[in-house]
Symmetry: C2
Subunit: 212 residues, 2 copies
């Protein structure tokens, strides 16, 4: 069954009516949920899996803006849904995802009838704005070596990640060569072990646990 906290908030009648009008959809890894220039068909409520949202600049470079996981709402879609503008970013499924697509009419009705639903939407928007503001700061001011180390820690503290340098460059919004060189340096310092398409974190320490 479709499990999403924003649906739990609804009263029984409203939830029942909603569930009758939506369908749960499965998205295999790799599938593009939407891409730049496309129009929005409905508001996705993510039930599971992982979806990354990235945009490609005029320069042709891409950067990952944020991720959606279980219980997230695709906030980006709301604006496109309501105003009819096209998406500016692209959403790609990373881990087979499951989502409910809420069509415009149902969304309007839920916004009208449920204060809880409205709160959920507003919260989601707030989080997303926060995420993006933090990203701006990170991209503008933080050093790439630190950002790389943090990414690795967040993703694979003492484990291994399967990712190419190119993909990692898109995560951080930089160039592949920069990632390659920084990783090489980390390997030289015995903090990671590199192999083709795979990075094993062996001795990275969290910044907090290190002397500054």
């Amino acid at each position: 069954m479709a499990r999403h906290s924003i649906l739990d908030i609804l009263n029984d009648t409203l939830r029942k009516e909603t569930l009758e009008k939506v369908r749960v959809m499965q998205f295999p890894a790799g599938q593009v949920l939407f891409s730049a220039g496309q129009n929005c068909q409905g508001l996705p409520l993510v039930l599971g899996g992982r979806i990354k949202v990235q945009m490609t600049g005029v320069s042709g470079h891409s950067i990952v803006l944020y991720r959606m996981e279980a219980d997230d709402i695709c906030t980006l879609s709301i604006g496109c849904l309501m105003t009819g503008r096209a998406y500016r970013a692209e959403a790609v499924v990373e881990e087979g995802a499951e989502a409910v697509m809420i069509p415009r009419g149902v969304f309007d009705r839920l916004m009208d009838q449920s204060a809880g639903f409205r709160l959920g939407i507003m919260e989601s928007y707030g989080r997303r704005l926060d995420d993006l503001m933090l990203l701006v700061e990170e991209v503008a001011f933080r050093r790439m070596d630190q950002r790389l180390e943090e990414w690795l820690l967040g993703r694979a503290a003492r484990g291994a990640v399967v990712i190419t340098h190119q993909e990692l460059a898109v995560e951080l919004g930089t160039a592949r060569e920069v990632v390659s060189r920084l990783l090489k340096e980390l390997e030289r310092r015995n903090m990671v072990r590199l192999s083709r398409g795979r990075i094993e974190v062996t001795g990275l320490l969290d910044r907090q646990h290190r002397a500054r």
Copy 2:
């Protein structure tokens, strides 16, 4: 009288009730509308003037995220208002501004009663997300000299701006020295004339009008 398009959308009863419960406030240039860490007192609807929203990173550097002018809604405040989280950014009045402060209760009521109000809020959110996404791309991938030229064009095509290099650095999210050097180079090429706290644009051409 308080003129804001999102108030015009309301029906007469609702508008009247709303206007009774809010007050129009004046903010002189330089005043800080809110700053990081503070809690939100209400949703500002901007009636006039100009307010810049900027954040300061852990590094101590600041960057301007976006501006609000007449008819804008301080989207950032909604999240803080609804969830009780503190502001992460700071809003500074640039040109004497006028705004209506909508308290939480009134906001809830408007969201509940007016589909038009909801649409306005959602549109505003969508625009803001778009702005921030574009900013991320700009900061991550575009060259500083181009960004500087565009800023100057957008702000003072063939006129003069009163701004220090430091302030301009915050606009672009870079260091003062970088701005100084780039400006010096533009002056050398007779595209601007520099004086203390003032930049006169004399011969900058819009990119579209130039050969690439």
